[in-house]
Amino acid sequence: MEEKQYRSVGKSVRKKDSLQLLLGKGVFLEDVVPPGALVVKLLRSPHANAIVEQIDTATAAKVPGVVGIYTWQDVPQHRFTNAGQTFPEPSPDDRLILDRHLRFVGDPVAIVAAEDEKAANRAMQLIKVTYQVLEPVLDPRQAKDAPVLVHPEDTWHAKVDVGGDNRRNLVASEVSGHGDVDRVMESCDIVIEHTYHTPACQQAMMETFRTYTALDRYGRLYVLSSTQIVFHVRRILARALGIPKSKIRVEKPRIGGGFGAKQSAISEVYPAFVTWKTGRPAMLIFTREECQIAGSPRHEMEIRVKLGADRQGNIRALDLYTLSNTGAYGEHGPTTVGLSGHKSIPLYTGGLEAHRFAFDVVYTNLQPAGAYRGYGATQGIFAVESAVNELAERLGMDPTLIREKNMVREGMTMPAYYNEISRACALDRCLEHCKEMFRWEERYPVRDMGNGKVRAAGVAMAMQGSAVSNVDVGSATVKLGDDGCYTLIIGAADMGTGCDTILSQMVAEHMDCPVDQVTVFGADTDASPYDSGSYASSTTYLTGKAVEKACTQLKQQLCAIAAELMDCQPEDTLFQGDRVICQEGSRWVSLEEISYKAQCCNQHAAMVTASHTSPVSPPPFMVGMVEIELDKLTGEVSILDYMAVVDCGLPINPALARIQAEGGIVQGIGMALSESVTYNPQGRPMEDSFLQYKIPSRLDMGKLRVEFEHSHEPTGPFGAKSIGEIVINTPAPALAHAIYRATGVWHRTLPITPEQIAMGVPEG
């Protein structure tokens, strides 16, 4: 494909903050806040379902250094949601800052604020609580219409009708589809029907949830938080505290990883409440244990897939039912579930005659789920890709050939994806490229290595979206500085992904200047233009387009200033990066001259803000292939090679795109082989630390190789689509496939541990 050559875009530019980060400079929340903030700690429920009958804080309050202890009696009584979503949020208003009714082990019972950590900890031990312990709902399969209600309260409120009903433990419910799926299924030669189970997984970002709050010089609430969503946090806090948004300013420092965890306001409300009550600076830093037991993990899902095909391997019908467990609160419950079908079924648009996708999202008395990279697509793709691999094995066909027959291709309308047209799709080229790079023909056959060891390979495809169509808003302000440099002001959040740099590359490309001439500021609700925030794979695609708009308009503004300087008509000027020329004659003025003129007797702002939204959410595509060596006797799996080819449109920064892919693959490997959140019979999480919750180390991932196939998305900046989320989706189905090849056993429940492999019994 003929591609345009760019000066800054498409280049592996170093991240703007890379040396600060690599040399350990103090840029994170705990490094930058002034000393002296009150230490905020949360006393958490030991029960999965209980009512606070009595709570006595008198003794605890006497501990020297304790400044305040707050219980359910002290907080405002309007319910809100922690979900960082565009208003009106599809997630129900089902939370209070502190509730008398405790709905999971870890639900906060009291907030303690003290001068130091020791005093806070001592006070926590001295708070006396009498609980009325209730029977919990712990099994999502039993939750719908169960006699025990997680949210019996009348004040539960859904702002958007998503089929939820708190009287039925139901957060959302829906059926959609096209064609007569039952009729087509009946006429299929082969029907594969299985149920797949993916447990909750933790994002496990290295920096735990944390927030600092203080009153600013105007007496407003200043909130510095490790968050992906400054504007949503402001709205959530305003509602939770019952104060006007104008009284709140939210800013983020560098963020030590997010992966969606920080797309919910997990830690913000507590110190904000303390500061609003006491007037004093306050800080809450979650321990790793709190992160593990009271974070916002991936939704546990159980997905029933019914796939109908003919004997030649043409997939004719897909029927999915997803049961999603949102836990004790509904954050992201109604929305994550949709992706389990809408971002798995469209992969097989090829000859699909009919599909149906139904779901229920239920409350349980378990840790509330939230947003995690992949956002439901990961779960759905594990199910559908596994079913397609099962079909291939049943037919004795090469699974890559089945995919070639059925995959979505450029130009197709995708009925399961809101009838969007796949305008940029290199999935076919990704598969071809990956097969060649991986040497699929050679490695797909199972090889016995002796001593109980077997080598085998597996494959999976994936898609995601780019932003939430017709909802998300990306914005950028670009302004010219005195010295001819630009400042880019954004409300999107760089959480290590590199969006500050990627968006700067775009500014540099548009303004025809070096990337070093662009500085970035954000995100700060007082100064940044409104942006939904960094989630839903939106920043490059959406905010990038806002950058394009802002730069286009800024060039016009600068030409207008230059025209005055040169005493010519703006129409006769031409922007040339470091100068504006007057096309009549050979006159020109430098950017620096324009910037000084902008400060003197000037009426054209050398600054533009632009917003962008999109009616479509173009999917990136990906193919992943894995080779493993499996020890049939111990069940241990060693990943030898993981290779992937990604179509994210045009990678704006190939190095950063590659790291996104590699990081996502390794997270996906963790989800496939070792990570899960499980509970004891009382509903207490078992994996409450990094000792018990095992994310992959660098010895657990083999060798990675990622390459790209370019496509051109007409609605994206420079033809770009997203990459942040899709990359986590292929490892689970590809590994389950390889493990089947090695052992003859399909594992339909994650994670697939050595025990399950060693003790697994082949079917039939």
Binding site: E636, E687, S697, L699, D700, P754, E755, M759
Partner: protein
Amino acid sequence: MMTIKQYVRAESLEQAYQLNQVRANRVLGGMLWLNTSKLAVNTAIDLSGLGLDQIEEGEDAFSIGAMVTLRQLELHPGLNAYTQGAMAKSVQDIVGVQFRNMATVGGSLFGRFGFSDVLTMFLALDAQVELYHAGTLSIQEFAQRTPDRDLLVRVVVRKRPGRFVYQSVRNTRTDLPTLTCAVSQVDGAYRLAVGARPMKAVLLTDEEGLLAQGITPESARAFGEYAARTVPTSGNLRGSQAYRTHLVQVLTQRGILELGGDHHGA
């Protein structure tokens, strides 16, 4: 987190021993449990100033001080030559280099932790433990005793002609083990140590003479089956009882075969 009122760097073993007789006092090892323990300690006793951080290799034995780190075990040329690398293998999957620079032999053994790779290895080595008060005893006897207020001073590994094989199974490479298994043949006698059952490691010898006729695929299998029948296991987060018992059989059989020179095991 563990709270500590007072810190004392002991100037003699006697001082440390006397301080340790007080219930609320504790000897510090590598301190790796500092954060997870909820103990309220009065005096923390640090042995790091007593020169116990050396591995001394003599003609007949290795003398390993209580404050020797796991990293020292991993890197010691003499110990690893003597154990054919099994010593390094027994510790190299433990968390990371930084952790192994801190974790001590004394701390690893004294707690008689179920998951201890180190205890498993030293059982197969038929090591001797020198306690300050109780004197020298076999590692097997030491392992069976419940932790008391004595001090572990050093561990002695006698150099006798032997072969050693160490294996473990872990859910991820640097996780705590699901099962540990060390086999040895020292002075002709076979020893099998199995740990992370998940209870603390136990030692098995070839009481039934299954290996008396030498190591063959059949005798290795028979000994593996014997081990699986004999070694008690149970289930926890990392594995069920059935899986562990299966692993006892698999690792024992493979270990014995490797001991016999077959590097392909089963």
